[in-house]
């Protein structure tokens, strides 16, 4: 089936089978392998992308369901000149990643969190990020990073 969707600001036409997941369409069809698959049953959150601004498990959504949608993936976070998004920067500084497998999903979940709730406290961050499993960090660096990025982003808004 032919679908059209916008990914990271770019319009794409894709030929997919009805059973192809959005995650596979992004990874195989568009070579956007930053979206990772950790469980393929919607629990681990590694494949989280934003569809029309809402976080979605790309392993649980068929590509055809994204017809006409706007999709944001980790590849679209940094600026065109390579400048890291404040969350990416904070994840690096706070050691919010080790192996990087959960990281794209963590980042997209955090992007959504800070969009709807710009200054969450640590308990809120822990609760909101609890849909994404990280096996490496013990979450300390991730919570630090989201908190730090929130402060950075709030500071920018104030200016």
């Amino acid at each position: 089936m032919r679908i059209t969707l916008t990914v990271n600001g770019e319009a794409h036409r894709l030929d997919v089978e009805p059973r192809h997941t959005l995650a596979d369409a992004l990874r195989e069809g568009l070579a956007l392998t930053g979206t990772h698959l950790g469980c393929e049953h919607g629990v681990c959150g590694a494949c989280t992308v934003l569809v029309d601004g809402e976080p979605v498990r790309a392993c649980l959504m068929f590509a055809v369901q994204a017809e006409g949608c706007t999709v944001a993936t980790v590849e679209g976070l940094a600026g065109p000149d390579g400048t890291l998004h404040p969350l990416q920067e904070a994840f690096s500084v706070c050691h919010g990643l080790q192996c990087g497998a959960c990281t794209p999903g963590m980042l997209m979940t955090a992007v959504h969190l800070l969009a709807v709730e710009p200054t969450p406290d640590r308990d809120r961050i822990r609760a909101e990020m609890a849909g994404n499993i990280c096996r490496c960090t013990g979450y300390v660096g991730i919570v630090d990073a989201v908190e730090s990025a929130a402060a950075t982003m709030a500071g920018r808004e104030d200016r």
Partner: protein, 785 residues
């Protein structure tokens, strides 16, 4: 930065070299790899724990569009090959593991056939169309079943399912127990769980028939070991095999195994030359068929003197090794570690411990972060907690009474391992201070008086045997000794540095750590160093990631290679500028006469001469500027650690809530403080997962009843508390002074959670994990569990 401002990279939280690609979705994982003409493999897996294979009918699968081939264990390409984990240990029963099941299946999840198709969807369609006829046999699930009840052994070679047993003996346990003032008994079990990295196993194999070359991209922790083992199994020269482990999405030991699926993929690739084959495991397969761990039983007796001195320990240990002796580590991996390290950081003269590795019809057990010691630390600390109750002593005071102290070092443990740490009391002291035991004791009393939910304090102290050299890695008596790694440091013609290190990384940031070590040993900036790892065609040698060994051993090799090349640079610089080499120093890529600010020559100019201007090469100098060194610490570096936690238990619901968690470790010299703390935090989180949530449960028929992440619960940011990590730093006797940190954090949480439970509620927990229902049943009586 001027030379005067040059600071060592060691000890600094430099930006990780890995981050730029991993944060932007540009990582290079095997799962992402696409090659021309590539086909995909899906495995057909047994739904039955133990059965004779009477027929595998692939005809239906071959009619599925896009399916190219189906391979079974009997296929000529695979039929002659078996993985056979070898050990010279007396009494060890060697058994074969076929790449795909032959004759019978030994666990639910074992691969029976492999379907090759144009994409993974089609390969799975094909797998569904393969019809397998099973003739069920009696399964064994529990490793401490009476051997007399075994009617259908897992392997014919071991009629009682016993693959290995060994008794560790020191002193006279019988006499010491008879003389003890207090004797305590415990019978404990620990829960089967596993590594579950977020990226499951993955491989791509490509064979070029004309020159018999195999390239295997694999998410492995041990690429060089995979290469030598594949060479044996596939009958190819080692040099014809290239194993590449690019970015790997977590390992934790699970990927330190050469799996039958890996070997099958390579054999099928050899049978279909020129066609790259890709297999990416899904989570359901991972839970079913990647190695499990920690399914143990401990029957323990300990004797104490009235003053709290630990006099004797007797232990009987059963480790469930699953259906196969894990390749190449053997079924000894858990039992031998359990017997060797059970006594932990405590002085003990009289010790008798019999360990057994018992085959069952469950997924094979293998290395998982902390190998056996999360269980043995639980066992040892449970004995000390019981002893403290019997003696009416404070549990922390009882531990202090028995710890190996700096004055005892080197301390020969009853298993004859030599402990070089002795920093246990220092870690405990610091942990007690950071945690503030008095504050929590006061809170405990306040809650008791106010009738609020009780809180308990749990403690776990441990030794992490890290960086095992040739003398210490001798335990399982395998046909290889994992004591050494190599590193090549190359100064390129432009003066930049490329390091080819034998280490591998599954998130530990080894590119960064090795760059720091080389930058300091050579005398260049961190940013001038690029590190290549994980490719057997690039780096000379490394055994890989296990036993918290790489910072110690790979780091040692990196340091030695960096220092060696620095000497070469200075010799060439001295000859070029006619200055005595003894007066020269290399800092931030500039050669100085010691004490002088102005450099006499830059590293890049020295490199240009070495590669491009042989006319300027002084007499006796060969072109090029690189060096390779091996390092083997011979013994190892024990790392000490202590953890304390305050945990609340709700008697009404059984709910368990961690209020505070403190860990103090001796990581020796710390190369990258944030990476080190990240290793400790991550390992504590996995330990907490094992202590409270993660449990791979088989039913009596051998079906895994926790086959998805909805049943197998890994902790999230909602469960893991804020972790307070601190250090004592006693440099180890190796080139960089580091001690390993990868595993230590996992060792204590079982003991800490169980200890907090008895401290809060006065009931001893014998069977992990400590779930709400476990707590509730301990308090209210649960009948049959």
């Amino acid at each position: 930065m001027t030379a005067a401002e040059h600071r060592p990279a060691t000890g600094t939280a430099v930006r990780r070299k890995e981050d730029a690609r991993l944060l932007t979705g540009r990582g290079r994982y095997v799962s992402d790899l696409v090659l021309p003409r590539m086909r995909h493999v899906a495995f057909v897996r047994s739904p039955i724990a133990h059965a004779r294979l009477t027929e595998v009918d692939a005809s239906g699968a071959l009619e599925v569009d896009g399916v190219h081939a189906v391979f079974t264990g009997e296929h000529p390409a695979l039929a002659a090959v078996a993985l056979r984990a070898q050990s010279a240990l007396p009494g060890y029963v060697e058994t074969d593991q076929p790449p795909l099941a032959r004759g019978k299946v030994r666990f639910a999840g074992e691969a029976v056939a492999a379907v090759v198709a144009d994409d993974r969807y089609l390969a799975e369609d094909g797998a569904e169309a393969v019809v397998v006829d099973y003739d069920p046999l009696e399964p064994t699930v529990c490793a401490w079943t009476d051997p007399a009840d075994v009617t259908d052994p897992v392997h014919d070679e071991a009629p009682d399912n016993l693959l290995l047993s060994r008794t560790f003996r020191a002193g006279d346990v019988e006499a010491a127990l008879a003389a003890a003032d207090v004797v305590v008994d415990r019978e404990l079990t620990t829960n089967r769980h596993g590594g579950n990295p977020i990226e499951c196993r993955a491989g791509v194999a490509r064979y070029e028939a004309a020159d018999r070359r195999l390239t295997f991209w694999s998410g492995t922790q041990v690429p060089h070991l995979v290469r030598t083992q594949l060479a044996e199994l596939l009958d190819l020269p080692v040099g014809n095999i290239r194993v590449i482990a690019p970015d790997v999405g977590g390992g934790f030991g699970v990927k330190a195994v050469l799996y039958p699926e890996d070997v099958a993929l390579c054999l099928i690739a050899i049978a279909t030359p020129g066609v790259p084959l890709k297999w990416v495991e899904d989570r359901v397969e991972h839970l079913l068929a990647a190695t499990h761990a920690r399914d143990h039983r401990y029957v323990l007796r300990a004797g104490f003197a009235a003053d709290g001195a630990l006099l004797a320990v007797r232990a009987d240990v059963w480790c469930n090794t699953g259906a196969y002796s894990v390749y190449p580590w053997t079924a000894g991996i858990e039992p031998l570690m359990a017997g060797g390290l059970l006594t932990g950081p405590y002085k003990l003269e009289h010790y008798e411990c019999t360990v057994r590795g018992v085959a069952t019809n469950t997924s094979p057990s293998g290395p998982y972060r902390g190998v056996a010691r999360p269980s043995t630390v639980f066992a040892m600390e449970a004995l000390l907690d019981s002893g403290a109750r019997a003696l009416d002593m404070d549990p922390i005071a009882l531990r202090r009474r028995n710890l190996i102290l700096p004055a005892d070092i080197p301390y020969r443990m009853p298993s004859r391992l030599v402990d070089d740490s002795g920093a246990y009391e220092a870690c405990l002291d610091r942990a007690v201070e950071v945690f503030d035991v008095d504050r929590w004791r006061a809170e405990q009393a306040r809650r008791r008086d106010a009738g609020e939910k009780p809180v308990g304090i749990g403690v776990g102290i441990y030794n992490e045997l890290t960086g095992l050299g040739r003398a210490a890695s001798a335990g399982p008596r395998m046909p290889f000794r994992t004591g050494h790694d190599a590193c090549t440091v190359r100064v390129n013609p432009d003066g930049a540095v490329t390091v080819f290190s034998g280490v591998t990384s599954q998130g530990q940031g080894l590119e960064t750590t090795m760059a720091q070590v080389v930058a300091d040993a050579l005398g260049v900036d961190y940013d001038a160093v690029d590190v290549r790892i994980g490719d057997t065609d690039e780096s000379l040698w490394g055994f890989g990631a296990f036993s918290s060994r790489q910072a110690v051993i790979g780091g040692g090799a990196s340091h030695l290679a960096g220092a060696h090349v620095r000497d070469k640079v200075l010799e060439l610089a001295g000859a070029l500028r006619e200055v005595d080499v003894a007066d020269l120093d290399l800092r931030a890529g500039q050669v100085h006469v010691r004490g002088q600010e102005k450099p006499i020559i830059s590293l890049s100019e020295v490199a240009r001469v070495a590669y491009l201007q042989s006319d300027r090469l002084p007499e006796g100098f060969e072109p090029g500027l690189e060096g390779t060194k091996f390092y083997d610490p011979i013994r190892g570096a024990f790392a000490a650690g202590a953890q304390l936690a305050a945990i609340e238990f709700d008697p009404a619901t059984g709910a368990v809530r961690i209020l505070d968690w403190v860990c103090v470790e001796d990581a020796g010299t710390i190369v990258h403080p944030v990476i080190v703390d990240g290793q400790i935090a991550g390992s504590i989180a996995q330990g907490i997962g094992g202590a409270m949530y993660e449990h791979l449960v088989y039913d009596e028929a051998g079906n895994l009843s926790t086959g998805t992440l909805l049943d197998y619960l890994m902790p999230t940011s909602g469960e893991i508390p804020e972790l307070r990590i601190d250090h004592v730093s006693v440099p180890a006797a190796n080139p960089t002074g580091v001690r390993g940190v990868g595993e230590g954090g996992t060792l204590a949480p079982n003991a800490v959670v169980a200890g907090a439970l008895v401290d809060a509620l006065g009931v001893e927990v014998d069977d992990l994990p400590v779930t709400p229902s476990c707590v509730w049943e301990l308090l209210h009586g649960g009948g049959d569990r």
